[in-house]
């Protein structure tokens, strides 16, 4: 089997809080607490979960927007998490990002031309000034924006168009992996469809791998090859799309799916409505982190933490799943 493009092994990121008067660090937010997965070339892996589950922190750790607490992030055989700044610079070319908010993620004082040219110059991808110009105009064609728009600034564009600029900027570096952190969440329905279609086309055209971070399960199902479901800093289930949406095994995955309102009036369903709220990641519950809200909780869940076990390609962390069938 070929080496995956990206490997994440037992990734942990704990943010200190309550620094105290004398810099004593008393508590930590266990934002990501032991997460492992792989992404193959050209594959889309979606990270789903609710606010505070740590999905964006995973994305940022992969981009090395901060240093991780422990664990490894390996891109194509090379460690990212402890790479020297000079190596990191080269690695950054291969992983790019598209953020959620197309209003704050583009520099308002730069023209679109300069926004797109910056990564090309930084990574020395253009051979000459004319090559740079060719690349910039080609990017506009790729994301289906008019070439005349190159001389305008971000505020002159609508949300959907800005997100196209953000995608073009990510593509400018010719990356192998793009982290899409809620990249379509802020967009209106009809524009969202445009951007989703664009991302799928680009993936096919350039063989891009995508880490698609989202809370919108219907969009995820539409786009993804595999899904990892996160809850309080851990992956509770990771499986190919078919398994997740046809036969989810973790109670949280089931609840999450059944909570999505369907655009079909009178659709027959029995939603699993979870009580309560997500506990604080500062003091995550002992045992299974989901046990405080799980409808199927039993004694073992309160004391012993379940680990991911596989059945085929579907990995689930639940004691219930470990019980013999029947």
């Amino acid at each position: 089997m070929s080496v995956p493009l990206l490997q994440v092994n037992d990734l942990k990121k704990h943010f200190p809080v309550n620094k105290g008067l004398f810099g004593r660090q008393t508590e930590f937010v266990y934002a990501v607490d032991g997460v492992s997965f792989e992404i193959a070339r050209g594959e889309t892996l979606s990270l789903v979960g609710e606010s505070g589950c740590g999905k964006s922190t995973v994305g940022r750790a992969i981009l090395r927007l901060f240093d991780v607490t422990s664990g490894q992030v390996v891109l194509d055989g090379q460690r990212i998490d402890d790479a020297h700044p000079s190596t990191m610079r080269q690695l950054r070319q291969r992983i790019q990002v598209v953020f959620q908010d197309p209003f704050s993620s583009l520099n308002p004082r730069m023209r679109v031309r300069d926004i797109l040219a910056e990564p090309i110059r930084n990574f020395g991808l253009a051979k000459s000034a004319t090559d740079l110009e060719t690349r910039v105009t080609a990017l506009m064609d790729t994301v289906r924006l008019p070439r005349e728009a190159l001389n305008r600034r971000p505020h002159e564009f609508s949300g959907g168009q800005r997100q196209r600029i953000g995608i073009a900027r990510a593509l400018a570096a010719e990356p192998e992996l793009i982290v899409c952190d809620e990249a379509v969440s802020a967009l209106d329905v009809s524009v969202k469809a445009q951007i989703v279609n664009l991302l799928q086309d680009l993936q096919r055209e350039f063989g891009l791998a995508l880490l698609f971070i989202s809370h919108d399960l219907a969009i995820v199902e539409h786009m993804t090859h595999r899904v990892a479901v996160m809850y309080l800093g851990k992956i509770v289930e990771i499986a190919p799309r078919r398994e997740i949406f046809a036969a989810p095994r973790h109670p949280y995955t089931k609840a999450l799916l059944s909570a999505v309102p369907l655009p079909e009036p009178g659709a027959k369903r029995n939603p699993i409505i979870l009580g309560g709220d997500v506990p604080s990641p500062i003091n995550p519950p002992k045992g299974c982190r989901f046990h405080t809200r799980c409808p199927f909780v039993f004694d073992r869940c309160r004391t012993e933490e379940p680990h991911l076990r596989s059945e085929g390609e579907q990995w689930v962390a639940c004691h219930l799943d470990a019980l013999p069938a029947g």
């Binding site: 609710e50 329905v189 009809s190 445009q194 219907a218 078919r242 949406f245 655009p263 009036p265």
Partner: protein, 329 residues
């Protein structure tokens, strides 16, 4: 007689670059105990419509014209004093952002008490008791403790429950919910939607639900009004609208949303795109507001605005080609 009748509502804003016709001639009604959903994308005028109903639009730069008859009386002709007696009492509102719509320096108990003491004339003791009852009603655990807490001590879902408790404290006849679950996570959204359905059954208030989420519409609305660029383009009973949308914009919206479970059918199809974007409402639009993005548009559409026509029982749409569109779809 309908509980609320809105006739030719026009809410315009004066801006340095021209008059923004945010809502331009919208008429609709809400019956007692009914849930009407208003759907559309950003800038379609759905929130401005709801703010206009409560007369929360600052004038100037805004200007509201038309008629808003609530239980037969025109809200637009009322004095500010009369209007204050309506707000929070007969008509109340839930906003999207439970953090910014609660006062951070007052306990939630005090915020629920306030409306009861002003509108119902309860004394502090009675209002406190009622506030605890309201918190119990909206499913907040340990209401006696929570009533003394501040908004920051509550989670997003709990804050939205408090908002609902305040809105329902005076038994309003009409509740306007502007994107009540948009800021919430899906499992919390499911809790709040269930709560709204339960409460509606028990309290019997009519609801105007403003949302862009067609899933939420399908789950709790009875009738749906679709808005685009400040106009009403279609209105129908909920099942009818999802089964046979007549307006090309409504058809586009429904086609643009992927359905959960679609991958199980085998192949996921490409999402339908609505090309282009919403027109600039500061420029006068001749013809149909959707013509610039519509695949069916002809010269007729670009020159003459279509009127709302009946396409079926309770089903109206503003499109010259609506019946043809339905056949084609």
């Amino acid at each position: 007689m309908a509980l609320l009748e809105v006739e030719n509502l026009q809410t315009h804003f004066r801006t340095p670059s021209g008059i923004n016709r945010a809502v331009d001639g919208v008429s609709f009604h809400v019956n007692e105990g009914e849930t009407l959903a208003v759907v559309g994308e950003s800038g379609c005028g759905k929130s401005v419509t709801s703010m206009s109903l409560m007369r929360l639009i600052p004038e100037p730069p805004g200007r509201i014209a038309g008629a808003i008859r609530f239980a037969g009386k025109d809200l637009l002709r009322m004095s500010d004093r009369e209007m204050r007696a309506i707000r929070g009492n007969d008509i109340s509102m839930i906003f999207q952002e439970p953090m910014t719509s609660l006062n951070p320096v007052l306990t939630v108990g005090r915020q629920i008490r306030e409306t009861l003491m002003i509108h119902q004339g309860l004394d502090k003791q009675a209002a406190e008791t009622h506030a605890i009852e309201m918190l119990t009603l909206v499913g907040i655990p340990e209401p006696k403790r929570r009533v003394r807490e501040y908004p920051h001590q509550l989670s997003g879902g709990m804050r939205q429950r408090v908002m609902i408790a305040i809105a329902l404290a005076c038994n309003p006849k009409l509740l306007i919910a502007d994107e009540p679950t948009t800021a919430l996570d899906v499992t919390i959204q499911a809790q709040i939607l269930k709560l709204m359905l339960d409460l509606k059954r028990r309290v019997g208030a009519a609801i105007i639900l403003i949302t862009h989420d067609l899933g939420v519409v399908a789950e709790i609305a009875e009738r749906v009004m679709v808005m685009y660029a400040g106009r009403k383009v279609e209105e129908a009973p909920v099942a009818e609208l999802f089964r046979s949308p007549r307006h090309p914009y409504t058809q586009g919206l429904l086609g643009a949303v992927p359905k959960l479970g679609s991958s199980l059918a085998g192949t996921t199809t490409r999402l339908a795109e609505i090309p282009g974007q919403v027109p600039d409402l500061r420029k006068p639009i001749a013809g149909c507001v959707f013509a610039g993005r519509c695949a069916l548009a002809t010269d007729l559409c670009r020159q003459y605005a279509p009127g709302l026509e009946e396409k079926g029982p309770g089903h109206i749409a503003a499109c010259h080609y609506a019946s043809k569109g339905a056949v084609a779809a």
